[in-house]
Amino acid sequence: MKEGFRPAMAWLHTWGGLVFTWLLFAIFFAGTLSFYREEITLWMQPELHRVQSSVDQFDGVAFALKELQQRAPDAKRWSINFPDARDATISISWTKDGRFDRNATAVIDPNNGAVLNPRATLGGTFFRSFHYSLMAGPLGVWIVGAATMMMLVALITGVIIHKKIFKDFFTFRPQKSPGRSWLDAHNVSGVMSLPFHLMITYTGLVTLMFTFVPAAATIAYQGDQALFLKEAFSRKEAPAASGQPAALTDLLPLLIKTRTHWHGAEIGGVTINNPGDTVAVIDITRKRGATLAARAEPVLRFDGVSGQQLNEFTNDSVAKSTYGVFYGLHVAWYAGFFLRALSFVMGITGCVMIASGAVLWTVKRRDKHTGDSSATGYRFVEAFNVAGIAGLMVASAIYFWANRLLPVNLQERIDWEMRCLFIAWLLTLAHAILRDKPTAAWRDQFWLAGFLIALLPVLNAVTGGLSLFEAMLQNHWRLAGVDLSTMPLAAVLAWTGWRIGLPKKTTSAKRNSKSRIVDLEELEEAA
């Protein structure tokens, strides 16, 4: 703690940031990959690589209904998800008691009705779940929440301690002393994408805000959680079944009518409540991501027997739209090709900002403390830096490899894919602790990650996937994109490993150059 507002904020930024660095890096990294969740999932299910896009969204609807009728004639609810630009298949699910069950789902080729059997994997969804729960249930969600809150504080204090924020847009001095160039890297990556970081951090908290701060809802609704959820998310309750059988109306005309009603908007899915009953009700939902706001897609409801339109549910409040926009900004369902790519790049700058902040902390202290009692402490921080940053890349690459190399019929296959990732991560930590020099550990792991990632297109081609070459020939760019992105990623990792391994420059330049940036340490000393 330091006297004075700015030094106090510098202290908070440094120590608060440090405590959560590795956690924040992992959260940011997994979140960045989640922007391409569906593409990653597709890559990880080579059984689906050769499904052709259907001509019309509704081509497979008859197959889907036939399959639902066969598998679950007495279900309480059927759901059909239509193909879209990011997923060529039609997927169905059903439920008897209202709860989702992984086994009560099927994936269908909309062109010929073939039931597809993709391998069991979480695919890209693993990264999304890890991103907000660390795969550790409610406790994990709260840990992520605390880290995100600290991130918000670190961003605000980071701006406060940063006098020359606009000049730093253009300041990067890789040839200066290591401390200086790491500080520059931290500043440049932090300042350039500050609006994105503030947005994604705040909206991240918003996605789970009723979990994190339930006070307002609890007090205003006097503890009536169900009523609150109903009003907040316009939960559309379906009438109870009568028990009298009646034939379901033809779905296709309703779908076409709805599409016309919404001026040609894509349809996301349809839910059929009480199928085969006299009070069957059909809800058709617009595809998510048509607008910025999420969780507010309009729904058109039809009588399931007569085919009469019953209601249209639309969003009716400014506060709900605001919430929906914040939520939508975080999950980026609205993003097309360019915005999605931009979000991904911004996410990477976030990773770089956090990682360089962590490295900066150790580089600044490493030389001062060689040989004294705290040297072991710094040694461990450095090892955690290596495993938390480079090690996570290695472990994530291993996850992709495990996806293709584990037997398709393995019991608990989904768990084994994740176990491979976590075991690899632990091994990178052991390696970082045992390796004699930190720079060597950095280099080993960056190079290993780069190597594993560079070979992913080869792995894809030889383990049953549609190869990069074929995918490009067939204009299957969502799939080819995953293979193509491995090359720049591997190159950057290889370069970073090479750069870190270079011998240090003499640091005499440090005192000669008159810094125009507020140096945290100078601030500390001035105080």
């Binding site: 106090a8 904020m9 550790a136 701060v213 914040f326 004294d372």
Partner: protein, 118 residues
């Protein structure tokens, strides 16, 4: 990851005294820092929660809109509260600055019997 975090904490506690390696850091200083951390985390959360509950019940909006607006603003209140804890002159100031408004707003929402009887 949790283990990572715990490890950091341990390293932090070793590293704090050597931040300025020439001076040693007194126990009182460490206590004050701990006190501020607790104030920021728990006091800040309490302030943000109570303010959001107050807004949710008093904003001139429909109930659901008031709840959403209040909850959306809670995170900035929390962030500012954490910053206040570390900017305040002493740890005691930090606690008072958080708890006094929290208590006042809590009384507004749930007036204790002795206030109602006045």
């Amino acid at each position: 990851m949790l283990i990572d975090t715990l490890k950091t904490n341990r390293n932090l506690s070793q590293a704090v005294p050597t931040l300025k390696s020439t001076k040693s850091v007194s126990l009182a200083y460490r206590g004050a820092v701990l006190s501020r951390i607790l104030a920021g985390v728990f006091g800040g959360y309490a302030l943000a929660s109570v303010l959001s509950a107050l807004l949710a019940t008093t904003l001139p909006l429909s109930r659901i809109d008031a709840v959403l607006t209040a909850t959306l603003s809670a995170f900035f209140v929390f962030a500012l509260a954490v910053m206040w804890t570390f900017a305040a002159r002493t740890a005691a100031h930090a606690w008072i600055g958080l708890l006094a408004p929290t208590a006042a707003m809590a009384c507004w929402i749930f007036p204790p019997a002795w206030i109602v009887s006045l």
